[in-house]
Assembly symmetry: C2
Amino acid sequence: MQRIAIDMDEVIADVMPRFLELYEQRFGKRLKPEEYWGKKVYQIPGADYIRKAIYEKGFFRGLPVMPGSQEGIRELMEQYEVYIVTAAMEFRNSFEDKYDWLREHFPFIHWSNIVFCGDKSIVQADYMIDDHAFNLERFSGKPLLYTSSHNVGETRFRRVGNWQEVMAYFRAERR
Amino acid sequence: MQRIAIDMDEVIADVMPRFLELYEQRFGKRLKPEEYWGKKVYQIPGADYIRKAIYEKGFFRGLPVMPGSQEGIRELMEQYEVYIVTAAMEFRNSFEDKYDWLREHFPFIHWSNIVFCGDKSIVQADYMIDDHAFNLERFSGKPLLYTSSHNVGETRFRRVGNWQEVMAYFRAERR
């Protein structure tokens, strides 16, 4: 059975609403997409405090689920081995939050198929869905770039903009 | 650079002293090696409560370091990419303990080279040092079985009995 490695943040966990909330709390205004296009929200001048929030307990626990990811993964699991692979190791306080989040929102994914790592080049799989080009660069299988504000300038990888596009890609692969 | 995936429990973290302590606390006697040879301590009749201790916070935090593993890994890091790969995912309460233990005893290993996983078949490396045959079975690189009471009957893999033997093996590999 072929294996798909799927990233968490900005692929199945939607970080952006929380970033926008944190920005609004301090600056009193909702950011427009063109203001963070091409970067991460915390790279906007004055918004580096948002990066610090990622290191706090609780940050990852409350993130919304990326629309369509639950149904999508359930369907993929009928044909593929699905692994959730997240670069959690930089964030010691994220481990329990990420684990609990997965148990709540993806209870059908067994713990044996969850990976917390740092450098994803250790991962052996046939497909990888990730929003970071640096993870896909060193991947020897087929890479899929999940669109996020910070990667819109990236042109080297097959791109998916949402979970409908992920599913369309895999349906075509199986034909 | 070639990559070595090194297990934590019973390879760099010594679980046995803690298991023997837990046995002694309840039964008032120190187990002799022949009493747990060929199995895990918690497989001895009446000792299944020891298995439950693994799920508690703190269990993995206080384990002693396997003799020679710190010096050995430091030396291996001069010639290899070393990853610590531990099947932590079954034990939600072990994440912070294992991370803190590594930071204390192996501060020279960067977080990018730590992996908490379930099924280790996801790991891509050239060598794997592990005490569990089921991890080595599905490994495509060169497997090294680190001797532990439960694996003494295993004959399929090259065996290392301590960190001196690990280092002797890799010195011979580089010749």
